[in-house]
């Protein structure tokens, strides 16, 4: 965190100054470890074992926050008797289809919610259409799970005594029983005393009086089990009562500035704004059909019609009416996986002919660099919008394939359009940061030359396209689009403020709405993104608020604006006990005040993440929908049952519970199950995507990649800057003193790193910060590579592209690349060039 | 030999910055300035003792040395065009400031002295150089050292900082082409200048020792006692050598003696210095700087011995030349050696860390019994 979120890390430093104990779990000793109380070196790709063992420690010793667990989680829910656990199936869950290498998740459902028509319970009436249902898995693929909220009945059968063999609590106990300190030692390489210290610390710091927080970023996500890493942490935090409470939670430290914003208002193919699922061509006939299938009807997702209709109204305005389904048919449709890597394969196969690359540099930034470039080279046209001439725009004249003779410039037919972009200081707009905080940014200076903001680009592109529209029906969706923003300045820059206001939404009177609860299903309200509703409340740009922290409460509600409804801490109703009283004075945050308002209200330091006037004692009437279906003791209001899910009856592609699977490429055995790696992981079995055989002696070392504070991602924003480039002028690999001695590597010298994809060269940094791990009776060496280098982007420094080494293998839930743990070989000296390089790789592939 | 010192450092990198002064500029300036200083003293004494021919050589040597030296000094500056900034303030805390003023004065005086001598030496009506009672050969100049007004550090410069007065360049000899009847006046002036140079001369030869010693460079700073003698001796040897070379043997006697005595002083001072400095003195013995210092010593001692022999008979002109050249080479090598030693001692953190550590330990040891709180 110190490396990649140094500014945020100041709060960790402050917490430490106030007595917090900081652990750092990382294969390498980094700048974070340097001032943490304890660094636990871990084998890349094994965290689920560690977290699982912590869960086991909590369950076995009954250290869970029982009141919290009983009231706020689904620990007591009873799961379908069809469910088969990894315990019974040696590492598989029930419902796995070896053909499609995918799960049918219906057997993971709550008892009675199995997705059969007759399955009753509120929300069950269209059981088989549940997002968690088999047909969904079949047609839509995994990419839509979770969006729109995974569906499940709101009142599953429960056993409050937690004794029922099929209740979640008991399933958990059995499932995690095998995750012991011994397995931690043999799979993570973490000593028993190291584990004991961690286990003691987190349990001692959880409960009524204290909370423990976990922070993670891509060290946990860039794995074929990435989503399950986070699930494991969620289970642990729920058991310890650390969710929805101050000082608790699981902090996702996100990536690019406003990458959070680009998930809320997504650049993702499978989502609409506010996490509404993108409609599917073959299964979402009309709006009603879509809504019927788009997740739960209880909890706040139950209002999805309000969100969706308001979105359609924002986009098609008066053209969207009750009669025409609010122009639902104008929306584009999915036909399956249109993710980054599948698209690249499409390019290579010639089915994808054009490509917009906006603010990304896949030629060096994405796994399988060579495949990326082969795809680019096979396009008809390519549009690159960037600050600098990135490798993605120049690959045709300077890509590595030219040097090896694989491609020749004259053979590349791709027509490349490079459009210079305005940077963040050259335009107004908001950043949405890690904690969902929107902060407005004023333009500091005019963009130079032809540089324009992306907003301006898309707006004017849209205008030009519309000018060419005919009366033809096919043009109607674009013709009817609301596309009218005030233009400012000599370059007719569309007003970002107006866009933000459109996102916020307006009421029948045309005035800005102030909360998503005001959204209506009848088309009388418009809203570009329901979770952002309120950012422009009272016609004030709430994101632009900058009242200093010293001048307001420690929650600082008047700094920027956080979605939803300016709540700084999600699910904060859980910070009070079921009766609505703070769990403790020390941890008081949001509580029920019976004397407030007519019949009492929720109040506290933050905006309550709960209906203000719903008393703790509220019990939902039978068949209630939306939030009305949730009791006064159900804090997790986006969940169909209002509970924190220890067990996920729906919503994940690779299991209702996390299980440790080895990375796709790994030098060690999975000693926990017969199933070695995640069975549902996404692989590409084709020539552009060769893999290192697991446990292969040719690739004996664990390779992990990461960032340096001094550079940014693919490097095109840092390599051209002298002040940054001089701080880390060369690509280097971090190797332990022991491995260096073994291989004869010299500090400051050169080494070549080889996988079956490619071989790259890097300077050698011999360091005790990377240490060999002793596990399963052998020594495992890990090699670290920062991935910021490339050959172009106007860089003052150059270096081989680390992603040329990476395999094309993905997590099945979110399709993130596994770039944190794979295998490789390492040899002293520089790599061969030209043809000889290809020969070397051949040699390794054929073994 | 000093035992290998145990010490820690940051990747073996130097702690202090090595002097950035370049070769040959700086060492040559040290040599020329020193020689000029010594020569001016010789010229003065020669004048008063009536060794006119030697006086002439010495005066010219002094003037030429000062002028050439100043040239190298200016060339050494990163911003030569700003040389005059040297004279925009007078800072007693800065040997270089003191030295600049000194050089300005000295080169002016020596130029004048030389000019008059040259004029006198021109064919035409003979004017006896020196037209006043001879002094006994004992009186050495006495210079009040602490009479400098001491400004609060920096405050002086600050006041003067904004408006930098441009002082006219007085350095560099101006030889007036004069009518014969003005000659007598000039002669008197020249003699006065030559005598005045008795004050600036010795300082010219020794201030450079303070210049280098007043730095954080261990091999220089720690040697601040011996360096002035080393430089003074070397300056004498150098000036004496020029005297021997450029004066008829019959007239060069005192120069020869001065050279021999200077060589002796230099050699003794060098030996004492290296012995006293111990570890810090290593650079004077090791590496390139060590070789230069050894060469300097050999040449100086050799040259001196030759000189004593050469002094014996008139048939030894060749020897005289040889010894003069040897002494000169020795004096030059000394300056190169000292600069090189300074750079070497700055480049190795050992010379900075080890003595300071020892000082700390000693300090602790001393303090503890004294029962002070540290």
């Amino acid at each position: 965190m110190a490396e990649c979120h140094p500014v945020g890390f100041q709060w960790v430093v402050e917490a430490r100054a106030r007595g917090a104990k900081v652990f750092h779990i990382d294969p390498r000793f980094t700048r974070t470890s340097a001032i943490a109380d304890r660094h636990l070196p871990i084998r890349a790709g094994s965290d689920i074992v560690l977290l699982g063992a912590l869960i086991n420690h909590v369950l076995a010793n009954e250290l869970d926050f029982r009141e919290y667990v009983l009231a706020y989680t689904n620990a007591s829910a009873i799961i379908s008797e069809d469910f088969g656990d990894t315990e019974d199936l040696d590492g598989l869950f029930s419902g796995f289809d070896p053909e499609r290498r995918a799960y049918d998740p219906s057997s993971w459902a709550y008892a009675g919610g199995e997705g059969r028509e007759e399955a009753a319970g509120a929300g069950g009436e269209h059981g088989e259409h549940l997002e968690g249902g088999a047909r969904h898995a079949e047609v839509a693929g995994a990419e839509q799970y979770g969006s729109g909220g995974a569906a499940a009945p709101s009142r599953p059968p429960t056993d409050p005594t937690l004794r029922h063999p099929r209740c979640v609590y008991q399933i958990l106990r059995r499932h995690f029983a095998r995750y012991t300190p011994e397995t931690v030692a043999e799979l993570c390489g973490i000593s028993r005393e190291g584990f004991a210290e961690l286990a003691e610390a987190i349990t001692a710091n959880s409960g009524r009086e204290r909370t423990t927080a976990w922070a993670y970023a891509v060290g946990w996500t860039q794995h074929t089990v990435g989503a399950q890493y986070i699930r494991t942490a969620s289970i642990l935090q729920l058991l310890l009562g650390n969710i929805g409470r101050p000082g608790g939670g699981i902090m996702a430290l996100r990536g690019h500035a406003s990458i959070q914003g680009s998930t809320d208002i997504p650049t993702l193919f499978n989502l609409l704004p506010g996490y509404l699922p993108m409609p599917h061509a073959h299964r979402h006939e009309g709006l009603d059909d879509y809504l019927a299938k788009a997740g739960a009807d209880t909890g706040f997702w139950g209002r999805k019609r309000c969100y969706m209709v308001s979105l359609l109204k924002a986009w098609w305005g008066d053209a969207a009416t009750e009669e025409n389904d609010f122009r639902f048919d104008h929306l584009p449709r999915l036909t399956g996986d249109h993710g980054h890597f599948t698209t690249v394969m499409g390019q290579i196969d010639g089915t994808v002919k054009g490509y917009f690359v906006v603010g990304e540099n896949p030629a060096v930034g994405s796994s399988g660099g060579r495949a990326q470039r082969l795809g680019l080279a096979n396009l008809d046209w390519l549009v690159v919008r960037d600050l600098t001439l990135v490798e993605t725009a120049t690959f045709w004249k300077d890509g590595p394939e030219l040097e090896t003779g694989e491609t020749r410039t004259e053979d590349i037919a791709t027509e490349v359009f490079f459009l210079p972009a305005a940077s963040h200081v050259e335009k107004d707009g908001t950043f949405t940061n890690t904690q969902r905080l929107l902060q407005w940014r004023e333009k500091a200076l005019e963009p130079p030359g032809d540089c324009r903001s992306d907003l301006s680009f898309y707006y004017h592109l849209g205008k030009r396209i519309r000018r060419r529209m005919t009366d033809d029906e096919i043009d109607r969706p674009v013709r009817e689009l609301t596309w009218d923003y005030p233009e400012e300045g000599e370059h007719a820059e569309p007003s970002a403020r107006a866009v933000l206001r459109e996102i916020n939404g307006t009421g029948p009177d045309g005035r800005a709405l102030s909360a998503y609860t005001e959204l209506r299903p009848d088309g009388s309200t418009r809203c570009g993104c329901w979770i952002y509703c309120g950012v422009h409340a009272d016609e004030v740009n709430q994101a632009a608020r900058r009242r200093p922290g010293g001048e307001q409460s420690r929650v600082a509600p008047e700094w920027g604006w956080a979605w939803p409804a300016n709540r700084r801490l999600l699910y904060n109703r859980a910070s009070a006990d079921p009766e609505g009283r703070p769990w403790s004075e020390r941890k008081a945050y949001v509580w029920w005040d019976p004397d407030k308002g007519e019949k009492g209200e929720w109040t506290g330091l933050d905006v309550p993440d709960f209906e203000r006037d719903k008393p703790p004692g509220y019990l939902p009437p039978e068949g209630a929908l939306a939030e009305a279906a949730l009791a006064g003791t159900d804090p997790f209001i986006m969940q169909p049952d209002g509970k924190g899910w220890l067990f996920a009856p729906a919503g994940l592609a690779d299991g209702p519970l996390p299980a440790h699977y080895e990375p796709h490429e790994s030098p060690v055995r999975n000693t926990l199950y017969g199933q070695r790696a995640n069975p549902a992981r996404r692989t590409y079995r084709r020539p552009e995507s060769p893999y290192n055989p697991p446990g292969s002696p040719r690739f004996p070392y664990v390779l992990t990649t990461y960032r340096l504070t001094e550079h940014h991602t693919a490097g095109s924003m840092s390599r051209p800057l002298a002040y940054l480039a001089e701080l880390q002028p060369a690509l280097f690999c971090e190797v332990s003193t022991e491995l260096a001695a073994e291989l004869g590597l010299v500090n400051g010298g050169w080494a070549t790193i080889v996988t079956s994809r490619s071989a790259i060269e890097a300077r050698v940094l011999v360091t005790g910060r990377v240490r060999p791990l002793r596990l399963q009776g052998r020594t495992i060496h890990q090699i670290g590579l920062p991935y910021h280098w490339g050959w172009g982007s106007g860089g003052l420094v150059t270096g081989d592209a680390v992603n040329d080494l990476m395999p094309l293998v993905l997590d099945p839930n979110v399709y993130i690349q596994e770039s944190k743990a794979m295998t490789c070989d390492l040899r002293p000296g520089r790599r061969p060039t030209g043809r000889a390089l290809l020969d070397l790789i051949e040699e390794y592939r054929d073994g | 030999m000093v035992p290998e010192a145990e010490f820690r450092s940051y990747y073996g990198q130097p702690i202090i910055k090595a002097p950035i002064w370049h070769e040959p500029h700086m060492p040559l300036y040290l040599y020329l300035g020193g020689t000029s200083g010594a020569a001016s003293v010789i010229s003065a004494v020669a004048t008063v003792t009536g060794h006119d021919r030697l006086a002439l050589t010495a005066r010219v040597t002094a003037a030429a040395g000062a002028a050439a030296g100043a040239g190298f000094l200016v060339a050494e500056l990163g911003r030569p065009e700003r040389f005059l900034n040297m004279l925009r303030v007078f800072k007693p805390t800065s040997p270089m400031s003191v030295g600049s003023w000194l050089l300005a004065a000295h080169s002016g005086l020596t130029a004048l002295a030389a000019a008059s001598a040259l004029a006198a030496a021109r064919p035409g009506p003979q004017i006896p150089a020196g037209s006043f009672p001879r002094l006994p050969d004992r009186s050495g100049p006495r210079i009040p050292l602490r009479s400098f007004p001491r400004l609060p550090a920096g405050s002086g410069p600050r006041l003067l900082a904004r408006s930098s007065p441009r002082i006219p360049d007085r350095s560099g000899p101006r030889i007036p082409v004069l009518p014969v009847r003005g000659a007598r006046a000039l002669a008197a002036l020249g003699d006065a200048a030559a005598l005045a140079a008795v004050v600036t001369g010795p300082l010219m030869s020794t201030y450079t020792a303070v210049l280098v010693a007043d730095t954080a460079v261990p091999a220089w700073h720690e040697a601040h006692r011996e360096l002035p003698f080393l430089f003074a001796g070397s300056a004498l040897a150098g000036a004496g050598a020029v005297g021997m070379l450029a004066t008829p043997r019959r007239e060069a006697g005192p120069a020869r003696v001065a050279a021999i005595l200077g060589a002796a002083v230099e050699t003794v001072a060098g030996a004492v210095m290296e012995h006293r400095l111990g570890l810090v003195g290593e650079p004077y013995r090791l590496g390139r700087s060590g070789r230069l210092m050894r060469a300097a010593r050999a040449l100086t001692v050799g040259g001196a011995l030759l000189a004593t022999v050469a002094g014996r008979g008139s048939a030894l002109g060749a020897l005289t030349a040889l010894s003069g050249l040897a002494l000169t080479a020795g004096a030059v090598c000394t300056r190169f050696g000292v600069l090189a030693a300074g750079k070497a001692s700055a480049a190795d953190p050992k010379y900075t860390v080890v003595p300071q550590r020892e000082r700390l330990e000693a300090g602790r040891a001393a303090r503890v019994p004294a029962g002070e709180k540290s």
């Binding site: 280097f732 332990s736 | 702690i15 050494e76 020794t206």
Partner: protein
Amino acid sequence: MAERMGFFTDTSICIGCKACEVACKEWNDVPDDGFVFRATSYDNTGGLGADTWRHVAFIEQPGGGDGREGVEGWLMSSDVCKHCTHAACLDVCPTGALFRTEFGTVVVQADVCNGCGYCVPACPYGVIDRRERDGRAFKCTMCYDRQLGGLEPACAKACPTDSIQFGPLDELRARAGERVERLHGEGRPQARLYGASPDDGVGGDGAFFLLLDEPEVYGLPPDPVVTTRDLPAMWRWAAGAALSMAGVVAVSFLGAGKGR
């Protein structure tokens, strides 16, 4: 003269992000220091110089003596000009280019410096240096211009963890004292202040540090002394030598009899 301002750099909370190095260069328009991979941990700028006025040192402390692998710790420390109470660079500067500001800091006036280079070997910390392609000497100004504008120095402003603390020197010294106490209390006896004492060889540093190991490990001199402390002695020895020289010359003429 206004209150003396200074820096307290608490290296125990430095995360080595180098924001200080970059902020300094951005604000003061300092050129890059070359692109050299030094293989000295994460340090690729080496040390303070004409083109690096803030420098972050990285020290990997080898794992315990018992042959254990890995590292004991990773020390990071942001070094800077010490703005000495008795500043050698300032004392020896012949042109007055270096001067003491109203904030008690030591600054070079670029329009006066003639590049004589004397300040360079004079500094006991090896801070100031001459930029060869420019000919003048450069170093940290403690952001004199920003201070005149009532702003804190760029490096301190940019430091995310407040490892660099800027303020009135007395306050900083008091705060630093407490900090060391606290670290000792937390069982970190190796914590010590460096340059905080007014009775050290330079009369105390305007920019002082809290270190976790011996100074020389960070590339700092263990017991720096301002060279000009010995200047009077130096002049005395020089005078002695000068007198001896005159004497020797006089002697040389004895016996040489009268000229002519």
